[in-house]
Symmetry: C2
Subunit: 927 residues, 2 copies
């Protein structure tokens, strides 16, 4: 803090300001915009901003030091308000009243404290009464101030929401005494009595008199607002939104303006465009004779600002034009002059900020004051529409339009969503991780095969499992959604669900599943098979019963945005897809190839799993080859389908990866089936299944370790790939296979697999008398592969970073088990974020970067990509761009997100370079 700037207070008012919009870090968003509004001539109550640096100082050195440091500046700034308003703070004749509000860099609505009407005491209240000619207003303001100050500064607000606010208790008693129901029905004398009783309560509770000195009130409020930066709500909100504690909040002190001074006063909020749809239509709500909090409080129903808004409202309410004018009078009609000024101001603000604005205003005796403007929050759909509209209107350029859309928000457009009202009234029975977005409602089933049976009967089901495995794939595919009690954001259930674009809530740890009883229990509540359940995959909430859903709409703007992105990206986007259908979806979303085609999923179809099991259970190579001969035509046909769907685009096929134990039958019935099929005893089947079980299957006999111990498997798969490509070539379809070796850790592992692939390919070429081009490369997913990438690149023509496994091994986290400690780790901030969701650039990223450099050193033109889940996460995509990957690959439904993120990465990089260049220039200039 020794580097603290000498200036701690920035004044604004009367179209002058010491700050401006670019100073958000120092002045907070609100403060910066208040200054900026003054600079562009918008009427704003004068005031000043205490910087965020002072907040940091508050937490480091305490209140006294803060007062000592900023006192002269604050006093000077208050004088500035007095001068502009022609009033005087702490003056009994013409008192100046102030508001004290928080305002941090990022918007944290309602999380911190506010004090209004500051400066009132037993004397100033009389002057205000006289000046406003409205005694009731003066005393109402006074009692509100005492309550607010008592709650916030004197900490009389109870911590728990269930306890009653002592002031509310007094009001309730008073209303009872007076036999009225609404506060507004209390008389001026009642309000005077309230103030008295409030002050007695304060004295009782704190042992001190309520402070009459406005300066004492002001310093108390400033410290309380700084203190509220660290209240539980604020901390929780920041954690949810990834806002660092270190930022601190600024404080805005302004002259009070009153919307509750009578029928020529009012207050409201407005958006310059429609934040839900993006439509370019000014809209908002207001209340006559009210203060800001009344709009939010919901006691009185606010009215529409525009006439057209009022008319739309009336249409929904099915009332006549007559009734409309009476019941839903618009500001446009009630105060046409004020409305005209407001409309001009909103246009001016949007033109100035070049983005949708969210305004707060107050009308005091027909005079319009703007209290706040900020960029409006909006839905994903609105985000796209506004960006593309503003681009067409010439307000912003292409780069800005692209940067205006948060890539992750595109997700909203790609999955069905719940109806918000239905959601609000739903009964949440559990909460898990928001594993795959979307909305799902269906009947509970506990087994994948039953999911299939029920689905065959046109029933909608939710598959509920402790965790899922590849065996559950078909059941997952027919379910509306998947709920698991175990597993994180990248558990099997989560990954597969996202790949399918299917709603999934994973790791709902409070749920107990009893497969035998076919029940799920949470908090004593027991649901059984067939009961209805709804999942919100975007929040992780689990609802009892049915919740209404609606289909999302995708407009032409979406396509135009993608085209914009296309024009700017260096990195291209592929998709992870295992079926022709997924491949088609991906291609439609603009994927430029398949980055990961998992061959193991192909073995779970009808008639395939038996041959696969036969291969695994075989006693020797001969037995395995016999079974593999059966699998060959099946695999070849699968590859043909995918190659055809992706004609002219590369398809990266990963050879068999998971431990064989995942394929064998675990139920005795199925084991007996296999025994009969193979003509061996049940005991032998059981013994083999037992033999295959591993303590840590993740680190066991899988990946290329399978292909190297059973070369005949890699041989069969290579043959299926090459034959499929040649078959298509004969039909005039161009297949571009890239054969990928999984879990490589050493050059010799890679080389041995490469040899098998190449020799098999040459054999097939010879048999067919024709050739095709193909690549052989590897996943980089074992830390050692990254560390020795220079060696491995001697054999691998491409690297594809499998950052799921790389994250598992670099952190030593099993994604199947991370649910045991991840919630605590996030809660205690040991981890800021789930590394399976967002690539850990510090640790895992170091390995990725190292492998890129080493790989290129050995093989200059090595193709580099990523096929882990991170390939569809925007910040990770940006990292991939920075380290120089050629492509990212993600699930089909995230392709648009990745495409946009890739474009933004380029824009951001250029901007950074520009800044650096300028900094260099400046430095040069100075020298």
């Amino acid at each position: 803090m020794s580097k603290l700037k000498n200036k701690h207070v920035y004044t604004f008012g009367n179209k002058k300001a010491e700050g401006n919009a670019s100073m958000k870090n120092l002045l907070g968003g609100k403060g910066a915009n208040l200054a900026e509004m003054n600079l562009i001539g918008i009427p704003v109550p004068p005031g000043f901003t205490i910087t965020t640096e002072v907040c940091t100082l508050y937490y480091q050195e305490g209140k006294d030091r803060v007062v000592e440091l900023i006192k002269p500046e604050v006093e000077e700034a208050v004088r500035n308000i007095e001068n502009i308003m022609g009033t005087k703070f702490n003056d009994n004749e013409n008192p100046c009243l102030l508001s004290v509000r928080s305002g941090s860099r990022a918007s944290m609505p309602g999380m911190m404290d506010t004090v209004l009407n500051l400066g009132l005491n037993d004397k100033t209240v009389e002057s205000i009464a006289k000046k406003s000619g409205n005694e009731r207003f003066a005393w109402d303001s006074y009692r509100r101030f005492v309550q607010m100050y008592g709650d916030v500064v004197l900490e009389m607000k109870p911590e728990s929401k269930e306890d009653i606010d002592p002031f509310e208790e007094i009001i309730d008693m008073m209303k009872e005494e007076k036999g009225v129901e609404l506060d507004t029905k209390l008389s001026t004398d009642d309000l005077k009595e309230l103030v008295k009783r409030f002050k007695t309560a304060v004295k009782e509770k704190t042992g001190k008199d309520f402070p009459n000195d406005p300066w004492e009130q002001l310093w108390g409020s400033i410290m309380a607002v700084f203190g509220s930066w660290m209240n539980d709500r604020a901390i929780y909100y920041r954690k949810l939104n990834g806002i660092p504690d270190e930022w601190g909040t600024a404080i805005n002190v302004q002259a009070m303006v009153f919307g509750n001074m009578g029928e020529d006063s009012g207050t409201g909020v407005a958006f310059t465009r429609d934040a839900a749809t993006g439509e370019d239509i000014f809209n908002g709500e207001y209340l006559i004779n009210a203060q800001g909090e009344d709009v939010v409080a919901g006691i009185r129903t606010p009215q529409q600002i525009t006439k057209i808004g009022s008319e739309r409202w009336a249409e929904l309410a099915k009332v006549s034009e007559e009734e409309r004018k009476e019941k839903f009078p618009s500001l446009e009609e009630v105060m046409p002059e004020v409305y005209k000024e407001l409309d001009e101001i909103q246009q001016k603000l949007e033109d100035h900020y070049k983005d949708i604005q969210d305004l707060e205003f107050t009308i005091q005796n027909n005079k319009l004051w703007l209290l706040q403007t900020r960029n409006g929050k909006r839905t994903g759909a609105a985000m796209i529409k506004i960006a593309m509209d503003m681009l067409k209107e010439g307000m912003i350029n292409k780069k800005t339009a692209l940067m205006r859309v948060e890539p992750n928000r595109l997700d909203e457009l790609l999955h069905p969503v719940f109806d918000q009202d239905a959601l609000d009234s739903g009964n949440v029975v559990a909460k898990g991780l928001p594993a795959s977005p979307g909305a799902a409602t269906g009947q509970i089933v506990f087994h994948a095969d039953e999911a299939e049976e029920w689905a065959d009967k046109n029933k909608k089901v939710i598959l509920v499992r402790i965790e899922t495995s590849p065996e559950d794939l078909k059941g997952m595919n027919v379910a509306q959604g998947i709920l698991t009690a175990r597993g994180g954001m990248t558990s099997h259930a989560a990954v597969v669900a996202r790949g399918m674009g299917k709603c999934c809530v994973s790791g709902a740890a409070s749920i107990k599943i009893d497969y035998k009883q076919r029940t799920l229990t949470c908090d004593g509540n027991t649901l059984k098979e067939g009961d209805w359940l709804s999942l919100n995959g975007s929040t992780g909430e689990v609802f009892e019963g049915k919740i209404k859903t609606k289909e999302p709409k995708m407009g032409g703007d979406f396509g135009e945005l993608m085209k914009l992105a296309e024009g700017i990206t260096k990195m291209y986007v592929r998709a992870n897809a295992d079926t022709p259908y997924d491949a088609k979806v991906a291609r439609d979303f603009g994927a430029k190839g398949i980055g990961l085609c998992r061959t193991e999923h192909m073995f779970f179809g009808e008639g395939k799993i038996q041959a696969m099991r036969e291969m695994i259970l075989a006693e020797d190579e001969e037995g395995r080859r016999k079974a593999l001969d059966k699998l060959l035509p099946i695999q070849r046909a699968d590859f043909e389908g995918i190659f055809e769907a992706m004609h002219d685009l590369p398809v990266t096929i990963r050879l068999l990866d998971p431990p064989l134990h995942e394929f064998v039958p675990h139920e005795e019935k199925e084991q007996q089936e296999m025994a009969d099929l193979m003509g061996i005893s049940l005991k032998e089947v059981k013994a083999k299944v037992e033999e295959l079980s591993e303590v840590n299957p993740m680190l066991g006999h899988r990946g290329c370790r399978l292909g190297n111990t059973y070369p005949e498997i890699s041989e069969m798969q290579s043959r299926a790939i090459i034959e499929a490509a040649l078959n298509l070539k004969a039909k005039g379809i161009n297949a571009i296979p890239e054969i990928m070796i999984p879990l490589t850790g050493t050059l010799s592992e890679m080389k041995m697999q490469e040899d098998i692939v190449r020799s098999t390919a040459e054999k097939v070429f010879k048999e067919r008398g024709d050739r095709i081009d193909y690549l052989v490369g590897t996943m980089i997913e074992v830390p050692r592969a990254a560390l020795t990438a220079d060696e491995i690149a001697q054999s691998a023509e491409f690297f594809s970073f499998g950052t799921n496994d790389l994250t598992q091994m670099t952190f030593g986290y099993s994604r199947d088990d991370i649910g045991k400690f991840l919630p605590v780790y996030l809660d205690k901030k040991i981890l800021n974020i789930d590394p399976f969701q967002v690539l850990d650039q510090t640790g895992v990223g170091q390995l990725v970067e190292m492998a890129c450099k080493k790989g290129k050193k050995t093989r200059k033109n090595i193709k580099l990509g990523i096929c882990g889940e991170h390939g569809g996460e925007p910040s990770s995509v940006e990292f991939c761009h920075r380290v120089g990957l050629d492509y990212v690959s993600c699930s089909p439904y995230r392709v648009p997100i990745a495409r946009l993120a890739a474009a933004q990465a380029v824009i951001r990089e250029k901007a950074e370079k520009k800044v650096k260049k300028q900094a260099k220039k400046q430095k040069k200039g100075k020298n």
Copy 2:
């Protein structure tokens, strides 16, 4: 090969030589020593050496190119032999006979081919007969030559040992015809007939006549010996001994000398000292009228060379001096002149080579010829004694003495061993990994608790398990040895067994264990509980029945060697020890502290496991704290014991590391016990146990993830450590605790644990009114910890590399499951060595080095050590020295090995620096 030297053939003979002892890489060990012997005046049959480079050329460009290249040189070299011997190759009057022998850089005894008596044909055989005056000798030599040439060069030797050599078949027929039993009883005419029949067999088999031309014989033999470098035996031997295929073999061609020319001829082998005990006594064996192969063949019993040897022999055989002279005549007595010369030569050779020599000699008509000298192979005990004796004799300096002992060979001195004869006659029923050296014989038991019961009845047991877990600890402790069907060299069984200094064979995959039937089956052979079994932990062999063992002896030389090492090492050695007993053993072996004290093993003792289980099964923090209160005094007492044993030396205590699932009861009986103890239902216990199970426990909820989710555990352990140290301080005993956080992956994980440790310590200090010094540091065992070591060092005062887990995660190998593919990987050379045995310097080592650099960058004086299994493996110890570790820590029984390896690392490094310096100087000189 374009850089091939122009000289390919090096001649020697008559006390001159073109090569010398330093040219082993080019001339092979044998060739270099033959040259050297000439240079120091030892009588050696003249000859020449064809270089190893020619062997490489042979494999790259084939026979013809080799002949083309070296023909002139070979012809010139043969002329040199002729000149010295006064004979002529390919001459019917005075023919020169030659031997052709392999000789690679490293000794590969008996692995490659040899051709003797080369140059004989129907004409020269007559000259030899005439010249030697011994027709039978001539024809015997001839028939031996034809057989050897047929087998080796004409490839008539059958591939399988079970098939009969065609020449042996002919001999057997002949002996039958003649009614004799021994070859020696065949007459000269019989031998002539044999040659005839041999040649017929050759013609039949190869379709060509047996070559009469000596030059053709010579070239054929040279190519055959080169070819034998790649025979199966040789390849296998090289794999076993880590000899690269690229080295190739040299070939030595020498004039033949004959020990079978009559009673004034003979042959023998000798050692300059006793290779078994190291005693400085010349010893060896010889045979009169015999060729080299007869000594080895075992048809005639060789006699002792020295009189004292003969006398010792007689003593064992309990015969009188009279009988001794007749039955066991020594060379010293039979040929005193020759003996005297031999004795002088052996002394000369040892003085020259300054190491024990292994000699081969032949006496032809009373003339002594040395055929070979090389450093003698010896036992670990002999290795030490010889090194220390030679040091005392002033023959070698301290550094050389230290370098003479292979650190791993010390192991032989530290564990009981089998009697070799008993071993040779044992029946091997299975083979596993040599997990922990030593010899064990006992009765089979399959359960740890039964092992305890049987041991209580003074029975010796071998504990046989599919794999072991911490629950088996006590059972393992009372067993003679442990045999597991699963798990590698660093599986639980292996690590614990080595720690205990107990014999263990792990991963004997061919064994099937049936716990229910209490049987183990391998290759159809079924053994049951109570049957006797013997394990050789040094070879991995499993024997049926009992094998006699003997106790090893350790002399004062051992201590002196350790003292020597001490004087030179930079790195010091600590031990991994969990009990006061182990700590004492380690201290006795010279450990300078404990590098890893695993606290979890302490929880398995009497009465401890219940409290531990109570803690784990508790519903909430309060329940856990209640159970932890019971554990506190137990842990404190354990720590007091260890601190006392290690007074004045540092003890690194690792906080709780394994997943909690390892501690809970898995048998229903025990689960019921816990339920009763805790007053909850069996169902609840079962549910909790189930809840704790993980898919990949290795990557699950363990290490500091436990201490961070349940801080009260770390708190209790910290308190126990600090209180124990203070208790000892009160008694005047100095405890130096170093508290180690396991499985750290991020700075915040470390910081949170550090905070718990430090705040607990401060609390205890305050309570006791006294303080002690202690350190807080971390294991580096997660790749991410190594990658972000600069961050982690902000909190950690020391790093201890847990290279077991680091290897698991860097390779992605589960050491519990690696048995599934490791044998195949080693066999196919995908891995050259088990990375859990020998540190993978390329991959894992990169992380270790990186972490050292990054750690030191942040904290200059950070203490660095290793506590993985690699800390006791010599090549890994050398790596640790090179990257700058302060200490290595290993199991108590490996402390001496590590101490020696650490000293050798310093010597080797200095030697390398010297070489570099000289190279630099030379370069400077040239410029």
